[in-house]
Symmetry: C2
Subunit: 377 residues, 2 copies
């Protein structure tokens, strides 16, 4: 096979509008950045880019945390990094659970050997701050962990009250920002969050593969005073600090191309600015709900708790009767549009429509509505 | 800042010939593949590419292991995945150590809570199969772990005898193939290796960011019979098997662009074929040593144990007198060529010159020699 023929094959990949729970489409500038030739991971020119990435993440996270960096793995590894550095076997943690990703936090903490107190809320609703406060007050845990933007239900959870209560009781606060970072204000410092993680493939319009994480000085102090080393050498923040913190000690080889993409994605996001970006995500969701209502799609979540970048929709009979998976497949095959099915308890009952990053635009809504009208005919 | 200006900035990155211990330069076809628009991680068209990546990795690894896949993190996470799935607290492991990466295996196993028996050899020499056999016979460990291609010393370690003895004693064999996969035969099945890991940024000429791993059926059986779950949810092979094994259960979001690059890198490698690729790496190292001898560079490693993709060189007075780091910096700044310094015990004493993947060519040697002649004047 000639080089040209092979490249041609990769270039013949189908074109997709990615309106599921992630990845969203990467920005063209991000894709072009990914194709730039490699630098070494200790090259001064690369280290400048890494500094830029760390600075850009601090801006979007709303933090001055020195330890703010793109972890060399996906968002789920970011979750693991936050929990496995802060928790030791036998430590108490209160986890708020109202969807798959809260549940995953509890699972990860359990594997670490922590004593997990679960505070559950119905899927599609938000955590009750009062219920969280009660558990925090009675357990007095080392860590309180919950999800800002629950990607399985489309709920934007209340942060302020829960974080304030946790801090008042001396707990560290861990927040999942996978589907909020870059699309909504996160404000780690203002809200008193000690450790947060995200992914690059949602509101940042980069490919999946990196997990932006941030640890406060309090969180780092907790890591320094551990009784035993973090089990994961790869995710140990005290080792990671040696490379990302200025001494540039070799730990692992940073994923050069992914960092190029992230730097470019952050430039795009910061040129637009977070307020404009947030407004765009809100407007796109409003348009989506307005345009889908006549087709019988109803939002699962109450207005006060809707997560703008990701909308969960109850399905009309026209979709249920035909089989929701078959309709999604028709959207993909006939119109090149991906939407997400329900996850966990909500599988089969809802769709998850992501309007994230570059895709949070009226054009995306119009293409989806038009394709749906055609498929449901 | 306009889009064009920003893109221009990323395009002004310095051009580098990467002759250090990795990353090596990515193949142009790989870089072009990385820039293709995203597909979803459950898109049938993407799953075909993932199947192709897994098949290609099986070919280069010389294995029919069903569980052969690119882990969504770098090579060090591959090391951790092999050890943390197979070892539980209190398990015995014998680790061969003759460099940084053997030492890292021992560190990772210790963090897991395993009882580690270290079998050491002088850096720059190979492990003694007899010493490994003695330790294996006396400890009768659950796992024997060592490095195929020690990237810190440039030694290609003997595999056959050690692996055979380990298997005879009922142990599982874990092998680090970071600097061998794609440049040299690895032959997992023929040699009786149960778990192996590698990186994409060495002989595969892809960017860093993925770790190809492979587990034998015996190794998977060991994971299934664990007394407690693997601490790492992200690296748990029993969960990973659900996505990569055909059921396509969502675990984490696969790093789409990195997989595109890997698929294209594997196509390039398999079009050339492993025998031709191996011969090219051997010829490049031979040329390097011949051309550097007149400048006073001497190989650290005896001929029988030299690792073709990575050569460690003792430095001539002309380099030592000027300061080896200053000479490397001049190569980088004035000639755009990166070579690696020594690591760990060998820091300051040797250089590590990688001729890996696409860079394993006479042209690389000639550019390096010519630049060195100019710098050393």
């Amino acid at each position: 096979m000639s080089n040209a023929a092979t490249l041609g094959a990769m270039r013949d990949l189908p074109s997709r509008l990615l309106l599921g729970p992630g990845p969203s489409n990467a920005h063209p500038r991000v894709l072009q950045a990914m194709a730039q030739p490699l630098l070494g991971h200790l090259d001064p020119a690369f280290l400048e880019l890494m500094d830029e990435a760390q600075d850009g993440l601090r801006t979007l996270y709303g933090t001055s945390n020195a330890f703010t960096l793109p972890l060399s793995a996906t968002g789920s590894a970011g979750m693991e990094a936050c929990l496995c550095n802060l928790l030791e076997p036998g430590d108490d943690v209160v986890v708020g659970i109202a969807g798959v990703f809260g549940g995953r936090m509890a699972e990860v903490a359990t594997r670490i050997g922590a004593r997990v107190t679960r505070v559950e809320a119905e899927w599609g609703t938000a955590l009750e701050p009062a219920a969280m406060a009660e558990a925090i007050g009675s357990v007095r845990p080392k860590v309180v962990a919950f999800v800002h933007a629950e990607t399985s239900t489309g709920v934007l959870q209340p942060v302020d009250e829960i974080a304030a209560r946790a801090r008042a009781e001396g707990a560290l606060v861990v927040l999942d920002c996978v589907t909020s970072l870059g699309g909504l204000p996160v404000e780690l410092d203002a809200k008193g969050i000690d450790a947060a993680y995200s992914g690059t493939q949602k509101c940042l319009s980069c490919p999946p593969g990196l997990s932006p994480v941030s640890f406060s000085e309090r969180a780092l102090e907790c890591v320094r005073s551990r009784a035993r080393p973090v089990q994961s050498w790869y995710l140990d923040v005290s080792l990671l600090a040696g490379y990302y913190g200025g001494e540039r000690v070799y730990h692992h080889t940073a994923p050069i191309s992914a960092i190029y993409g992230l730097v470019e994605g952050l430039r795009v996001a910061l040129e637009e600015g977070l307020p404009a970006r947030t407004a765009r995500h809100v407007a796109a969701q409003t348009a989506l709900l307005e345009r889908l209502a006549p087709l019988g799609f109803e939002p699962l979540v109450e207005p006060a708790h809707r997560l703008p970048p990701l909308t969960t929709l109850r399905l009309p009979a026209a979709v249920r009767d035909r089989g929701e998976a078959a309709v999604r497949r028709a959207l993909l095959d006939e119109h090149g549009i991906e939407v997400g099915g329900g996850l966990g308890k909500l599988a089969g009952d809802v769709w998850r429509v992501g309007l994230m990053g570059e895709n949070a635009r009226l054009e995306s809504v119009e293409r989806l509505v038009s394709a749906l009208e055609s498929v449901l005919g």
